[in-house]
């Protein structure tokens, strides 16, 4: 069973890693787990060929929905996190009606406008969204015990384990979706949309489906974040955060499932850990910007292309589609 060995190694590393980190690094690890879900769900949406700038706002929809459900209707936290994902998916479904009239650059800008409108509505309406100051004192996850481990959500380690389990389940679902006939159709819609249409595929319906599923998982991620940090405001989900998600996906590469995850983990560690430790506090955005430029100039196919070079003999994950490019 050599195939399972690396997975057990990863599992062991994820369990032991937080214990050797400082408190602030443990917090970064929690964000990292959530961001992996955000960027992976974002990739599902880009599979159909459209790049959205609304993904982080949709994540915020999940966060706001879950926070408000617990505050106003006393919904228990784990249920509200799930409902946050559902509501985000529904909002995305509504948004997709006008947005999927557009393609390419116009979709990019249109999705940005739709996202900004939602964000500004949070800012404008104090009831129930709390205006510019947002929502404070969001209920934390209730502590619980599973016998061998006590989840005490005051500790980042516990929340990291909880978030990592949720994220792992979500990644598994996303992986299954991509490998299913539906997922293959997403690829077809991207690379051969005229052909797919001619073969009787409802291209727009599949784009909508990808957008809705991706948004549901983003909403779930947002809800996970909300109940960890305890306070959210419109600026937590602004275009700057979106830019980070976009760059993780592009620097990592979106041809494979692991590309965006690789990009997210690498850039986060570089930005939050390495540059901080080296004492570049003020120049951090400058160096991050330089890294972005250099990686896009010299590694246009993303970090994943390096991994593929290291493993000769293994074919690229989407060889047929690549040829059609």
């Amino acid at each position: 069973m050599p195939k399972v060995v690396p997975w057990f190694a990863l599992l062991a590393a994820l369990i032991f890693l937080p214990h050797v980190l400082s408190f602030s690094q443990q917090e970064i690890l929690v964000y990292l787990a959530i961001n992996v879900l955000i960027v992976t769900s974002y990739r599902l949406l880009t599979l159909t060929g459209e790049w959205s700038l609304a993904h982080v706002v949709i994540m915020g929809v999940g966060a706001y929905a879950s926070a408000l459900l617990t505050k106003m209707f006393s919904v228990p936290v784990p249920v509200s996190i799930l409902l946050g994902g559902v509501i985000a998916a529904l909002v995305a479904l509504v948004l997709s009606v006008p947005l999927f009239r557009m393609k390419g650059f116009y979709f990019l800008i249109g999705s940005f406008a739709a996202g900004e409108i939602i964000r500004l509505l949070w800012k404008r309406f104090r009831e129930p969204f709390g205006g510019p100051k947002g929502i404070k004192g969001i209920d934390p996850m209730p502590d619980f015990s599973i016998g061998i481990y006590d989840f005490d959500f005051f500790e980042p380690i516990s929340y990291f384990y909880f978030a990592a389990i949720v994220v792992a389940v979500c990644l598994l679902i996303l992986w299954r979706i991509e490998k299913s006939p539906v997922g293959l159709t997403f690829h077809a819609v991207h690379w051969q949309d005229k052909l797919a249409q001619a073969a009787g595929v409802n291209v727009r319906a599949y784009r909508t489906l990808a957008f809705t599923i991706a948004s549901g998982f983003a909403g779930l991620g947002g809800a996970l974040l909300a109940h960890y940090v305890g306070t959210i405001n419109p600026n937590s989900f602004d275009v700057e955060v979106m830019v980070f998600v976009l760059t993780w996906a592009i620097v990592g590469g979106t041809a494979t499932f692991y590309g965006p995850i690789l990009g997210c983990v690498t850039l986060t560690i570089l930005n939050e850990v390495v540059l901080r430790e080296m004492g570049f506090e003020q120049a951090r955005p400058l160096i991050y910007g330089l890294i972005l430029i250099l990686s896009i100039l010299f590694m246009p196919k993303g970090l994943e292309s390096l991994v593929q070079k290291l493993k000769p003999g293994r074919k690229s994950a989407v060889p047929v589609e690549r040829a059609a490019e």
Binding site: A113, E116, I117, I250, P285, L292, I296
Partner: protein, 289 residues
């Protein structure tokens, strides 16, 4: 009521002036290079900081500072063309990421050079043309309006009446056919980037004494510019100018009678409606998307 409307009209005309300078530059770059320059708002910011350094700190005459600001930001544009957009010509998403990287570098340099505090810039002139008690046009704002009209007319003349202008418009329409006619793609890209960036820089420099200058001021500028170029039709310079004026009036009216956030929402709604009705922008075509 009439007085408030007249005053709002002046405010809107001033806003339209600098918005159209920024938007026209963005359209020019998108048209010729096919790349969405996310760093355009930061080029505006760089122009404003040129005035902070030269006029406020070194006490040069204002117009000299603005002129140097234009040239400096134009050179930044040339740098972007050579270092980023030329190697990434067949990779529009790559160009987008590279411009985001450049944006972060410019912002970070401004923070390191000047700090995050708002800059105080002495006013160029305190004069006010008073039409009545409530209708007043500060001369400093009038200067911005005049400068925009002069610069945009000069650009129009350059594009429609000179050989370089012809070449530029030809490469915007069809780069391959233009190249076959012996038009150098690199040459036109350089000119477009210099003019596009320079216009953003001069807009920032001219308005610097009138707005709050800080390293993050480019953010709202780029959002406004995007709205304007979508409503006006991507690739249409005239459309960008008309849309700038329309947007500035609507935004100013909503801000005056309600509030600024609502005005932003209305502006974005307007853009979304245009995109829903015409999914490729008002005068845009689908094939450059």
């Amino acid at each position: 009521m009439l007085e408030i409307l007249a005053q709002t009209g002046f405010n809107a005309l001033y806003a339209a002036s600098y918005i159209s300078l920024v938007a026209v530059g963005l359209v020019l770059i998108f048209g010729v290079m096919g790349v969405v320059n996310f760093a355009h708002g930061e080029l505006f910011m760089a122009g404003a900081y040129a005035v902070v350094a030269l006029y406020a700190d070194l006490h040069m005459p204002f117009l000299v500072a603005v002129g140097i600001g234009l040239a400096f930001v134009g050179l930044l544009g040339l740098l972007m063309e050579r270092a980023l957009f030329r190697p990434l010509r067949d990779n529009p998403l790559g160009g987008l990421v590279a411009s985001i990287g450049f944006l972060m570098i410019l912002q970070s340099l401004a923070v390191m050079g000047f700090g995050v505090r708002m800059e105080h810039i002495p006013p160029v002139t305190q004069d006010v043309i008073a039409f009545s008690e409530k209708v007043r046009l500060p001369v400093a704002r009038l200067y911005v309006i005049i400068a925009a009209v002069v610069l945009l007319s000069a650009l129009w003349f350059f594009l429609k009446r000179t050989r370089f202008g012809w070449a530029l418009r030809a490469s915007a329409q069809d780069p391959e056919a233009a190249a076959l006619q012996g038009i150098s793609i690199n040459q036109t890209a350089r000119i477009a980037m210099f003019i596009g960036a320079g216009l953003a820089g001069v807009a920032g420099a001219l308005t610097a004494p009138l707005v709050s200058v800080n390293p993050f001021m480019g953010h709202s500028v780029i959002i406004t510019a995007f709205i304007v170029i979508i409503v006006g039709g991507v690739g249409s310079l005239e459309g960008a100018i008309i849309a700038s004026v329309a947007y500035a009036f609507i935004h100013t009216v909503v801000t005056t009678f309600w509030d600024g956030v609502l005005a932003d929402i209305v502006g974005l709604m307007l853009m979304l409606i245009v995109l829903i009705v015409r999914p490729t922008g008002l005068m845009g075509s689908a094939d450059r998307a």
